[in-house]
């Protein structure tokens, strides 16, 4: 590879041709501050709009300062990253950004976890000149079921826009207006609720300020936990245990399942259950549906459509209900694990503990913001009472544990309660991209071939590639599987399906890059996607350590079918564990 040499702050560094000044400096361990910049290496996207100008450096012989994040280093270049001129410019620009930003850090949801705040500290900002005459941008606050937008705090880094459009291809957000009025917003500056937003929360995950945050339900939870009349049941999603530790200073990829269970119990939950159990249930329903559709299709039933698409991911469900309304009959009708859990908790389990539905509060801990919206959907309510009352994110749980004066690191480990706490390795891997389909294959293989799997791990299905495919030999029949994570990748597969070009029998789709471990409710990775890899590894570690690794072997699953549901896809199962999809796209109404 061709390399060049340049001098940064009097140190010579050799880098490959095409390297930016910012990255060349990194090689020298010179940390030039950045604000709008975001390197999503794993996704092949480097967001460097050159908008904030905080990373400006002085390049000898150049008339003006250069944004280091997007300026290519050249042979012989002489760069200064902390000259007086640079320091003054950086500080002045920061003051400008802050002059149009609220100063109520003390009560901001992002306080302590805010890139802008950190930068202000780093640059030693103590005063913002001419505040008395400086007009501030003001916008209406937007409360959606999942995401809260406070655009007063938007600094136009445009990261959310990149996530929403380039990564997710959702297109809900765009820069609108011009100049001082410019801001990132949905069409017509309407609320997210009326836009094509899927609540995947990837915008929230990258927002450097408090402009985009989750709809926080912790205060409601604290009230319910304190209410003796309520039986509060909690379920925790697989991806949460692989990331929660990060909020307590643990290395990314540390599994904290046992500590988390203890913490939840100490917080006062009456029953601590596992969404993984419901994931096993999902496999029973979804896997059966897959085999049913497959068999009918192979038998020549033209009404049966393939591929079947997974339906556990609520962001993904929102996406196709908005943008692929012609394909509504393709996804599996199985509810997501969160909702299966809720439906069972407020029926089967409520009967067991002899509680009335309305006296129960079912809470979910999710790596996801779309789950907050999902549990409010009318399809998942009985007489107005939701199966899952509300969902809180991994970040909210961490904050709550801290608020309750606990430290997860020092927590002893304990096990989930039964009967809804026992799960298999198949349920665990739901948290990573490819996991749902791998779990389904483990079961489908054994059910279809009536043989034992020689090897449980389907490594060919795993990985971080945006779109993957695999073939599984089901005793002579080759099952073709497609996997996409990130809605932008999903769109590509769906367009093939729409065009009739897809050869897959089953496709797994997760809205967030990396799957649930990269969800919008997870600890912020600040653009560093290596974190996602570590979380994924943790998930597979947990799976490998499980004594049972196939959903249909979960004894509590077998039990519920015997005692309550009958068999997969039975009428009762259909009523409690399946759903239907509706066209939520904008319809243009013709008038006479």
């Amino acid at each position: 590879m061709e390399t060049i040499k340049l001098t940064i702050d009097n140190q010579v560094v050799e880098v490959p041709k095409g390297t930016t000044i910012y990255k060349a400096a990194k090689q020298l361990e010179i940390d030039i501050p950045v604000l709008c910049y975001m390197d999503l290496k794993a996704l092949g996207i480097e967001h460097k709009p050159g908008g904030c100008r905080i990373c400006s450096v002085e390049v000898e012989g150049r008339r003006n300062l250069a944004p280091s994040c997007s300026t290519e280093a050249t042979e012989g270049m002489v760069v200064k990253t902390h000259s007086m001129r640079v320091m003054n410019a950086r500080k002045t620009v920061m003051e400008l950004i802050l002059s149009d930003h609220p100063k109520d850090c003390l009560v901001c949801a992002k306080s302590g976890n805010c890139d802008l705040q950190d930068l202000s500290v780093k640059l030693g900002i103590r005063d913002i000149p001419n505040q008395d005459i400086a007009e501030m941008s003001t916008y209406r606050k937007d409360f959606s079921p999942s995401i809260i937008r406070e655009l007063d705090k938007c600094i136009m880094c445009r990261r959310c826009e990149t996530m929403c459009n380039q990564v997710q291809s959702v297109g809900a957000l765009s820069a609108v207006n011009r100049g001082f009025q410019a801001v990132v917003a949905p069409a017509f500056e309407m609320d997210l609720e009326h836009s094509t937003c899927t609540y995947c929360g990837q915008c929230v995950a990258v927002c450097p300020t408090g402009a985009l945050t989750e709809h926080d339900h912790t205060n409601k939870l604290i009230e319910d936990l304190a209410n003796p009349a309520k039986t509060v049941v909690v379920q925790t999603a697989p991806a949460v245990r692989a990331a929660l530790g990060e909020e307590f200073g643990m290395e990314a990829g540390t599994l904290v399942t046992g500590q988390m269970v203890t913490a939840l119990r100490q917080l006062g939950f009456d029953y601590v259950f596992d969404t993984d159990w419901a994931a096993d249930l999902t496999i029973m329903e979804e896997g059966t549906e897959l085999l049913d559709r497959l068999t009918r299709h192979l038998n020549g039933d033209k009404d049966v459509k393939l591929p079947i698409l997974t339906s556990c991911c609520p962001g993904w469900v929102n996406f196709f209900e908005q943008q692929f309304t012609d394909l509504l009959d393709i996804p599996s009708s199985a509810r997501s694990p969160q909702q299966m859990f809720g439906a069972i908790a407020k029926t089967y389990f409520a009967d067991q503990i002899k509680k009335k539905r309305e006296d129960m509060v079912v809470v979910s801990i999710m790596p996801c913001l779309a789950k907050k919206y999902e549990c409010q959907r009318d399809e998942f309510k009985v007489d107005g009472n939701p199966d899952v009352d509300y969902s809180i994110s991994t970040r909210e749980l961490a904050a709550l544990i801290k608020r309750a004066n606990m430290d997860l690191k020092k927590m002893p480990q304990s096990d989930f309660d039964n009967p809804l706490g026992e799960s298999t390795g198949a349920g665990v891997i739901f948290g990573a991209t490819g996991g749902v389909i791998e779990a389904a294959v483990r079961t489908a293989y054994e059910v279809y071939t009536k043989k034992k799997l020689a090897k449980v791990d389907f490594e060919q299905i795993r990985g971080m590639e945006g779109i993957r495919s695999a073939e599984v030999d089901l005793d002579g029949f080759t099952l073709k599987i497609g996997i996409a994570h990130g809605l932008g990748n999903a769109r590509k597969l769906l367009e093939d399906v729409r065009a009739g070009k897809s050869e897959y029998h089953a496709i797994e789709i997760m809205a967030c890059p990396g799957g649930c471990i990269g969800g919008g409710g997870q600890p912020l990775h600040h653009g560093d996607l290596s974190v996602l890899k570590k979380r994924t590894e943790a998930i597979y570690r947990e799976d490998a350590g499980k004594p049972i690794r196939k959903s249909h072997e979960n004894p509590y699953i077998t039990k519920i079918y015997e005692e309550f549901l009958g068999k997969p896809m039975s009428e009762k199962a259909h009523h409690l564990l399946h759903t239907h999809y509706t066209d939520k796209s904008k319809k243009i109404i013709y008038l006479k």
Partner: protein, 597 residues
């Protein structure tokens, strides 16, 4: 064969059309027909003569009689007197503002004397809607020569040798730009004509497109041949309907003649041109923003490199030049690089078109050789300052430029000298200001423009210009503090230093250059709370001079806010806390008893 013995050239540019020049054309035709002289005299709709101040213009050829401010009703007299009887219509002749004498021959008008018209050579001479007239004046000759006699490299060498630099503002060597695009290996390349003239007060591109659209098409085709592009795009402001119309006609005619299309003039070269419309965003004059706009996106600039020459429209190599630059190209091939390079200064060759505006007698469009002085432009061509007032400053380069003052008047105008003097060439706007203009207010006016036109992408421009404006407003409001001027300077320098594109990198220029040249005016506003030019309302105080007041109550009755009190026949008083400084009292007083301090 009877060719016309008299040509009546009537300007039908936007300016003159706004004063009914179309009717003038119609009436002239009718009157000529009435006299049975339709074979003898011809009426030609042409592009702009540049002398917009006195439009509509009718010029009679061959004796170069220059009639100004011609109304449709004047047509009859022009025909009956001049065309029939050979007698000039005295009252319509241009009068020299100095000698107060009527000028018989346009060539002896000061306005035209020092001009050299290269880019504007056909404006006001040919009918822009008739390709034949363009061809008659050597049109498409350059394209023909390039296609049949030159290699792309050879043709680019001529442009390099001519020393032509981009006329859109940056002054980048045109030949070099072409060469970079030529060297890129790609099966699809584009050439783009930047006709998104947004600089308020500059309208040379529009005039060229309205007056001589074929020159742009010809130059783009040459550009296409040299760079290996088969497709040309003209990005033009939607606010220029007439230019768009004329371009459409020109493209149609050129296609019909096979001068656009496939295998042009028997060569293997294919080239065609399409129009793209701007939609009112000044920043789209910046190449990368322009390209994004053509792609159907928000016109936000992106960092260069990659330069459009390497990665432009639809990610293909794209050569972007502005209208005036293109208008020079055919002439360079027809008259030679050496001829072109003989005009101008060492580093700035050829001519530049300027739009003279503001407090100058002859407002209009002029083309002058590089190296001419501001004094010549303002006082000779421009005919000096209006109403005999005193020259104060001239803003060159539009909102991105800076103001130049008395001491700069004898500096030869070229790219480098203007930058050295703290301003820039820009697209060629030239606003002349006199003693009645407040420089703080002027800086504020330009800032208002950049604030509104900033795209909002980068922080220094989006927020910084707004803050600059607010500081200026504070000063003109009489609330300025001494430190504010230093803040303006620091903020302005940082905005220049850190902004993403040319707009932000130049937007503080009006502020910085007025502070540099008129620090005393800023000080007067801040320290003495006075506006020396008497422009800033908040700094004015209306008072009644006791000796002069007769107590007639006229002022009190005129005051819309009841700020004036006083009994009949007694001295009146103005309450400064109520006064809104509307000036009604001063206007009404017959005894000079109301004064402004």
């Amino acid at each position: 064969m009877s060719e016309y013995k008299i040509h009546a050239l009537v300007c039908s540019g936007t300016g003159c059309r706004a004063s009914e020049s179309d009717m003038v054309v119609e009436n002239l035709k009718t009157e000529i027909a009435k006299q049975g002289l339709s074979d003898f005299a011809q009426v030609v709709k042409t592009g702009c003569f540049g002398f917009c101040e006195k439009g509509p213009i009718v010029k009679l050829i061959p004796d170069n009689t220059f009639y100004t401010q011609v109304k449709p009703a004047d047509a009859r007299e022009i025909v009956e007197e001049h065309i029939v009887k050979g007698r000039k219509v005295e009252r319509l002749l241009y009068t020299d503002p100095d000698s107060k004498e009527a000028v018989n021959d346009s060539k002896s008008m000061n306005f035209y004397k020092k001009q050299i018209r290269i880019a504007l050579r056909n404006c006001g001479v040919i009918n822009p809607e008739n390709i034949d007239e363009y061809i008659a004046r050597d049109g498409y000759e350059a394209l023909g020569k390039v296609l049949s006699e030159m290699t792309p490299e050879g043709a680019i060498k001529i442009i390099m040798d001519s020393g032509l630099r981009g006329r859109g503002g940056g002054g980048f060597p045109t030949g070099l730009k072409w060469e970079i695009t030529r060297k890129e290996v790609n099966e699809q390349k584009y050439v783009v004509c930047n006709a998104d003239e947004g600089d308020p007060g500059a309208f040379m591109d529009r005039s060229i497109l309205e007056g001589d659209p074929h020159t742009v098409l010809e130059a783009m085709a040459i550009n296409g041949y040299c760079t290996g592009a088969s497709k040309g795009l003209i990005y033009i402001r939607a606010e220029y309907p007439l230019a768009i119309e004329r371009l459409k006609i020109a493209i149609e005619q050129a296609r019909e003649y096979g001068l656009l299309g496939e295998r042009i003039l028997g060569s293997n070269f294919n080239f065609d041109v399409e129009l793209r419309y701007g939609a009112g965003a000044f920043v789209c004059g910046e190449e990368t923003a322009l390209i994004h706009s053509m792609e159907g996106l928000r016109g936000e600039p992106t960092l260069k490199p990659p330069f459009p020459s390497v990665e432009g429209y639809l990610k293909k190599p794209t050569n972007v030049n502005n209208v005036e630059t293109y208008a020079n190209i055919p002439v360079i091939f027809n008259k030679g690089a050496a001829w072109f390079a003989s005009i101008g200064t060492e580093k700035s060759k050829g001519t530049k078109v300027f739009a003279l505006a503001g407090k100058v007698n002859n407002v209009g469009l002029i083309e002058v050789p590089m190296g001419i002085t501001l004094r010549e432009v303002i006082f000779e061509i421009g005919g000096g300052i209006k109403d005999g007032k005193k020259f104060k400053a001239v803003q060159t380069g539009g909102p991105s430029g800076g103001c130049l003052v008395e001491k700069d008047l004898d500096t030869p105008i070229d790219y480098d000298n203007l930058i050295a003097a703290g301003s820039m060439m820009g697209s060629g706007g030239m606003i002349i200001m006199d003693e009645d203009d407040c420089m703080v207010d002027v800086a504020k006016f330009f800032l208002d423009f950049t604030v509104e036109e900033s795209c909002g992408k980068c922080a220094p421009c989006r927020v910084g210009n707004k803050r600059l404006y607010e500081l200026l407003n504070k000063i003109t409001d009489g609330k300025g503090e001494k430190a504010d001027i230093d803040r303006l300077i620091n903020l302005g320098s940082v905005i220049k230093d850190t902004s993403l594109c040319g707009l932000g990198q130049t937007s503080p220029n009006p502020v910085l250059s007025t502070i540099k040249n008129f620090r005393n005016e800023y000080d007067a506003h801040v320290l003495d709370k006075k506006c020396p030019a008497g422009v800033c309302k908040s700094l004015m105080v209306y008072e009644i001079v006791e000796e002069n007041c007769v107590g007639c109550t006229a002022c009190a009755r005129a005051c819309p806010v009841g700020a004036i009190s006083g009994e009949r026949k007694e001295v009146h008083k103005i309450d400064p806390t109520l006064c809104i400084k509307c000036g009604a009292c001063e206007e009404r007083c017959k005894f000079n008893a109301v004064i402004v301090k």
